[in-house]
């Protein structure tokens, strides 16, 4: 890994495919290539929409999505602060990728499912997971949907037709395909959208999942958030393909690229992919060109590998101000309304944090539950031993 003192140019020249974002000649596969001719864009710089691909969202839908994007942004910022204060252990956010996540989640029908990786809490909230439950997961307390058994941001929300988050990269991809395939076998109308990053396209699971979905025409929407980085490794080091969407060619799966910071473009391509799946035509791979404005997680300092100056162009493409310009133009949305919205969301968030922080840790014996359907003898013995024995200090028991 390079150091913070290393000039940006040395990192750029080490990349096999060419220069880094922020330079004069971005390579085609890089997310900065959102203006390439094959990339679906709808929201123009002046805040108007390209009628050719306009998904036709109602004004109230756009405002609801804007609100969800701002909420995700505020959550991200607040959770990073909580981690820095030592009040939560970890956060892995989506700052800069809100349009990709919310646009795609919005485009799924009620009977469709979402299989997440770990950066899509906004999709879980969109699917109905209460904010309190999400924040409970961040604290790993007794009300955490996963009972404090996984790191923060590893939640689950089955009643919202939302999967379970795992840390290993790409494992959800084949599972999503199997799930979609099962729906097809049962002749039930459900598609599955599976999220993953550009790094996951290097995993076995991506290739297994694409291959199986292609062969069996499983109604799957592969949603690759090409956010430029897999921890410290840039897109150019992840693949020698020109694009991630073109990887579909090898599997007989159509690929499409869209401007992932353009809410309307994301809705348009995802809706098309779902419609294709619903017609029985099989999977689609979407490459959403977006950018990870922060580090990989709170455990990562991107200054060590990513020149700060290069972020400016991405900050200009930030999906929230872009959508803000649109709603200002179409609804007369004002700065005062923004302030009001932020104050309302901030209050909601603060209240949830206060409740979560005061909620007790999971009960000791819960550690032994859900390993098997019923508690076998060896776990009964080990549970009793733990309950009898000395307690770790400072962990609420």
């Amino acid at each position: 890994m390079s150091t913070a003192t290393q000039p940006a140019s040395s990192l750029a020249s080490s990349a096999s495919g060419g220069s880094m974002e922020g330079s004069a000649h971005p390579v085609a596969r890089h997310p900065l290539d959102a203006h390439a001719p094959d990339v679906v864009r709808v929201l123009r710089d002046d805040g108007t929409l390209d009628p050719a691909n306009d998904p036709g969202l109602r004004s109230d839908e756009v405002l609801t999505l804007y609100r969800a994007m701002v909420r995700a942004r505020l959550l991200d910022e607040r959770l990073v602060l909580l981690q820095r204060q030592g009040r939560i252990g970890f956060h892995i956010g989506c700052k800069g990728e809100e349009a990709s996540i919310l646009g795609s989640a919005f485009a799924m029908r009620q009977n469709d499912w979402i299989f997440p990786c770990y950066r899509e809490f906004a999709a879980a909230l969109w699917r109905g997971m209460p904010l309190q439950r999400y924040v409970d997961n961040m604290f790993g307390n007794t009300n955490d949907p996963v009972k404090g058994r996984q790191m923060p941001d590893h939640y689950t929300w089955k009643s919202g037709k939302f999967g379970s988050v795992s840390s290993p990269i790409g494992t959800q991809i084949t599972q999503a395909v199997g799930f979609a395939w099962a729906a097809k076998i049962r002749k039930e109308d459900a598609a599955v959208l599976v999220y993953f990053g550009d790094g996951a396209t290097s995993s076995n699971e991506f290739h297994n999942g694409m291959n199986f979905a292609g062969v069996f025409k499983a109604p799957t929407v592969f949603f690759c958030r090409n956010n430029g980085w897999a921890i410290s490794v840039p897109t150019e080091r992840q693949t020698a393909s020109e694009t991630f969407a073109q990887k579909g060619i090898a599997y007989g799966v159509p690929g499409v690229r869209c401007d992932g910071n353009d809410l309307f473009a994301v809705v348009k391509v995802t809706r098309d992919a779902v419609a294709r799946a619903a017609r029985g035509e099989g999977p689609t791979i979407i490459e959403a060109l977006t950018y990870r404005l922060e580090g990989h997680s709170t455990s990562d300092d991107p200054k060590a590998y990513r020149p700060e100056a290069g972020l400016d162009s991405w900050r200009r493409l930030d999906p929230i101000p872009r959508l803000r310009r649109y709603i200002e133009r179409t609804t007369g949305w004002t700065d005062a309304q923004d302030k009001e919205l932020e104050a309302e969301l901030d209050a909601e968030l603060k209240a949830a944090i206060a409740v979560s922080e005061k909620t007790a840790a999971p009960a000791l014996e819960s550690m032994f539950e859900d390993v098997f359907g019923e508690l076998p003898w060896h776990l009964q013995e080990q549970r009793d031993e733990l309950l009898r024995g000395p307690r770790a200090k400072g962990h609420g028991h």
Binding site: D144, P145, V146, K147, R149, Q150, H154, T156, W157, K158, G163, S164, S166, P168, T171, I173, T174, Q175, A176, V177, G178, F179, A180, W181, A182, A183, I185, R186, N204, E205, N208, G209, N211, F212, V215, E369, D370, V371, F372, G373, E374, P376, W377, H378
Partner: protein, 324 residues
């Protein structure tokens, strides 16, 4: 009751359950038209069609990953891994995902499926067609591991595994696929998971064994009997969770134990069984527990009969333990 071999009994169990429950699907490499490389799924494709007996692309990770997704949807997949040696490309899906789904989702997503796979040596298969990797799965929280030794148990344990709420690895000892024959109950016949079988009653030495090595242990026990040593032979049937009660009851009676398994010796299930006996019945022991196992080498081709813990190696261990 009809006479069957192991292959026929497993086939009978699959057919029975697929008729009873239309959520059950079989998937894997060559399981369809050809009926599996050992013919275990023969005829199922013709009866149930290609949406329930599915020939997949050649990818163990893909088979198990998609089977997990099917299970999450509500199907009951019974994927086949052609040889247990080839299970490792799917290891991450089994260990990181399948085993932990119920736990990691706070009980929201119990993922249950039965992975069937031929296992063990003695068929001149070299080390990519002969290994016994059961201990590597027993060490993972959340998995159940089964290994039948006869046709009736194979049917009964497989039906119980398919109906069990937890993910099960079902290891089929291929050396006895056709060699082990016996009466198999018709129709619905289950053998409960977690219950061992006392195959031979005896007073002097307990032998704990499973799978194909059961017959070697019985052979050794018969030879020992000629020397006045009366062995009790326990077939584990379910390797995890273990039927510790049956083992401890027997050891308390005999005071002596020999554990036999094909898998390598170090960190194998035999070591765990000995540790449990030490924890629970130490003061009843009259001799140090012994293990007769495969060696800590890759499984060999030409010398496989020297590698396997056959009766010629089990008998001296029984005698040594009995005379300690």
């Amino acid at each position: 009751m009809p006479q069957m071999n192991m292959v026929q009994a497993i086939n009978d169990a699959l057919r029975h359950e697929m008729r009873r429950d239309n959520r059950v699907v079989v998937l894997g490499e060559d399981v369809g038209k050809v009926g599996g490389v050992f013919r275990v799924t023969q005829g199922l494709f013709d009866e149930f069609g290609d949406e329930r007996v599915i020939d997949t692309p050649l990818s163990e990770g893909g088979i198990i990953g998609t089977a997990i997704g099917m299970a999450l949807y509500g199907l009951v997949p019974v994927p086949e891994i052609q040889f247990s040696d080839f299970i490792f490309p799917a290891y991450d899906q089994i260990v990181s995902e399948l085993a932990k789904y119920r736990y990691r989702s706070g009980g929201e997503y119990p993922a249950k499926l039965v992975i069937r796979t031929p296992t063990g040596g003695g068929i001149r298969g070299g080390h990519y067609h002969s290994q016994s990797p059961e201990a590597q799965f027993i060490h993972v929280a959340g998995l159940k591991v089964v290994c039948p030794s006869n046709p009736a148990d194979a049917k009964g344990l497989l039906l119980a595994s398919i109906r069990d709420p937890d993910p099960v690895l079902f290891f089929e000892p291929k050396r006895i696929y056709r060699a082990a024959k016996g009466e198999v109950p018709e129709g619905d016949h289950t053998v409960p998971l977690g219950k061992a079988s006392v195959v031979r009653k005896g007073q002097h030495v307990t032998i704990v064994v499973w799978g194909a090595m059961l017959y070697e242990a019985l052979d050794a026990a018969n030879q020992a009997a000629a020397q006045g040593i009366d062995c009790e032979v326990i077939d584990l049937r379910t390797l995890w969770p273990l039927d510790i009660e049956t083992i401890i009851t027997s050891v308390k009676k005999t005071g002596r134990v020999v554990v036999v398994h094909e898998a390598p010796k170090s960190c194998g299930l035999g070591g765990e069984i000995v540790a449990l006996i030490n924890e629970k019945a130490f003061l009843h022991l009259e001799a140090p527990p012994k293990r007769v196992t495969g060696f800590d080498t890759p499984f060999p081709y030409t010398l496989e009969m020297e590698y396997l813990p056959l009766s010629h190696r089990i008998l001296p261990a029984i005698i040594e333990t009995a005379r300690y």
